[in-house]
Symmetry: C2
Amino acid sequence: MALGDMIVVERNEQGIAQVLEILRNAFGDRFQTGNSIREQHGHTTTYLPNQMPDGVVFPENTEEVQTIVRACAAHRVPLIPFGTGTSLEGHVNAPGGGISLDTSRMNRILAVHAEDLDCVVEPGVTREDLNRHLRDTGLFFPIDPGANASLGGMASTRASGTNAVRYGTMREAVLSLKAVMADGEVVRTAGRARKSSAGYDLTRLLVGAEGTLGVITELTLRLHGIPQAISGGVCPFPTLEAACQAVIATIQMGIPVARIELVNALQMKAINTYSKLDYPESPCLFLEFHGSDAGVAEQAELFAMIAEEQQGGPFMWTTVAEERNKLWKARHDSYWASFVLRPGAKGLSTDVCLPISRLAECVAETEADIEANGLVAPIVGHAGDGNFHTLVLMDPEDRDEVAKVEAFVARLNERAIAMEGTCTGEHGIGQGKSGFMRREHGHGVDVMRTIKKALDRDNIFNPGKMIAG
Amino acid sequence: MALGDMIVVERNEQGIAQVLEILRNAFGDRFQTGNSIREQHGHTTTYLPNQMPDGVVFPENTEEVQTIVRACAAHRVPLIPFGTGTSLEGHVNAPGGGISLDTSRMNRILAVHAEDLDCVVEPGVTREDLNRHLRDTGLFFPIDPGANASLGGMASTRASGTNAVRYGTMREAVLSLKAVMADGEVVRTAGRARKSSAGYDLTRLLVGAEGTLGVITELTLRLHGIPQAISGGVCPFPTLEAACQAVIATIQMGIPVARIELVNALQMKAINTYSKLDYPESPCLFLEFHGSDAGVAEQAELFAMIAEEQQGGPFMWTTVAEERNKLWKARHDSYWASFVLRPGAKGLSTDVCLPISRLAECVAETEADIEANGLVAPIVGHAGDGNFHTLVLMDPEDRDEVAKVEAFVARLNERAIAMEGTCTGEHGIGQGKSGFMRREHGHGVDVMRTIKKALDRDNIFNPGKMIAG
């Protein structure tokens, strides 16, 4: 598989023309076809080429989404849900043209049920919007993929991020969804009960479906109480292996760590340069603990002992919010920081996830592979989940380099799958990883295709993504 | 909907005869057609009538399951996976006859990955078998539905039980499944990574599918470290309302309670009589806390304060294993204890689950309904999840009584669904609740039927269950 091997989607010119006409009449200036807005609604985040939709529509409620879906279904025109466009795998590209459904006007927080620790939101609400809204309730929404993504988009890619090790991913965070299916009908996948054994788990089927099965128009999300106390800090290690062993020991001892992030030496250098910091430029773990005052101190001290056993440390930790925020801002900026290592380059982010026992081995082999091939590719990882990213900095115009990067990515994904892992822990398949689905899922791909075909016969929802063959 | 309104499944006599012949030849005395074994493989747990399969086959591995599936598929004969037969909703009944696939010989524990906190088992392994096997590893499998059910059966009904409030349900516990689909092909739904964004969540689609989409032949399950310390106890309350308010406060404060079980006054009376105990015969909470020595004491003391605020208490708690075991044995025996209230009766267990804020209201209305209709029906609940059971004791031969119980169950399920809950938190739909699917899921039932039809065109897998219309 080559990175450029996208799934081809034929353009249906006649259908597109008809849908443009319908949406223009129905949505007035909430339907736009200008070049810049169309380009902005194609993929803009990585080296993947931009593929513009033919128009962008801004619905304000479920009924309007039904109108759009019915128009696209009647004329067999692609419909691509759009949140904030922060996908790293080309999810919002329009390889066969069609309509981008921008959810930014569906941004109401419909209910906060503090007693039930849940809330109901529209898909265009971003995670930062939600947490701002919750500020005075003592509750928060924990899933944090770095970017200020929309919650609809986060559900669609089964996103997670730095604190999934404690709070889970969007798989666990979504209690229920409302969605418009290809027949234009609305499904509500569940009530608000914490658990249910009533029928197929349609919630979990739509979470991670990347907009290929329906358009999410409402989400019921689990919330958590803001912890009484938070402690955190950075801990250097002599080797990556030692850092990974400390992670395994922490998880095995049942320390309820909220965040445990692996950053390799090269990435530490980039962070220091970009954020003007002076952390040790060796492999480090960034940690955070949530709990009672006594609890977070106990957790931090337990971890310090674990680190020492691995010749790591000193583990400098603090409960002072300002210092912790500085630390996590640096960690979150690491994507952008990486570009100081090769100014002007485009980035390709990998996203393998493994059983944690294989993490050290996989990271070490990957570092060796990067070095052997002369690539510039710092590493950060959500180590508690066995998930790590390399950001390969490349010149997409240099064919030889692209070929080398393609081969590297293929080896990395193969390595992870062979270790019983996955090619994507949290970014999704989109266009960029569709070529690895067969290797990872075998006959499962046929099952997925059967489901897709049964629920979206004419392949109108986000065609050209996820299932390649 | 009446409780007797089962989905009718036509018998395919010719196909059944052919499959009996095939299995007899292929499995020898691991295929049985004697009356008593067939009856034992129909439903035997509740008032639901027994419907025998035509034969029972005991495969020993995935390949043998493929042989059986292919035979049933070729001749359009029902295939009903069987674990230990503890379903409360008639899941193992054979309304159109066919083959019961007994997984009891697929009972190997294939791997324990201590570093990754997971294990790989065959579906016939029971949860007690697994925990016995894990005893020396410092790990345990937490999901505990009471019965010593098979893990394949627990996955199929999305089971949970008393400590789901802390450790989640089978939805969270299953990392990956191997299953034989209707085309006879094997699917492995995922690797062993903690999280993945690679394609549709086939794991969660099969968990809770009640054997209607495929036959599970292998499960990868998450394990947890045995907590350093455990505390627990029983706390009486003046009213059910007060007990439920204490539960809400406990969850909201983020106390990581491992078990928080509601038992009403009538059930306490049954428990005392059956287990020769002298607990207060008022509404009670049974609690358990897991953590460090200091942690479990802190949690128990915090809860005691919450209880006091609700005029509850005294909360007598202990860390002594023997006393705790006595307490939980009494709680787990409550199903059988109930029958002392009406010896010779048959039981019907309800299973609604609600947003926790509605729990007190729903339990109170249900108690009033029970009293107004002169029913004998004690209540126990997994209160931390908003899930509670009534065990209605009835004479299934008394038509008037059956009608009265049917109307009661319909009102209870309607009450829960109207409160944004579900008619089943953990038992599944099976035959007993299929009539409530449309009310609970609306158009979602059509989506489920579309999926079922796409993946099992000839409806061979457990027909007559779950989706009625």
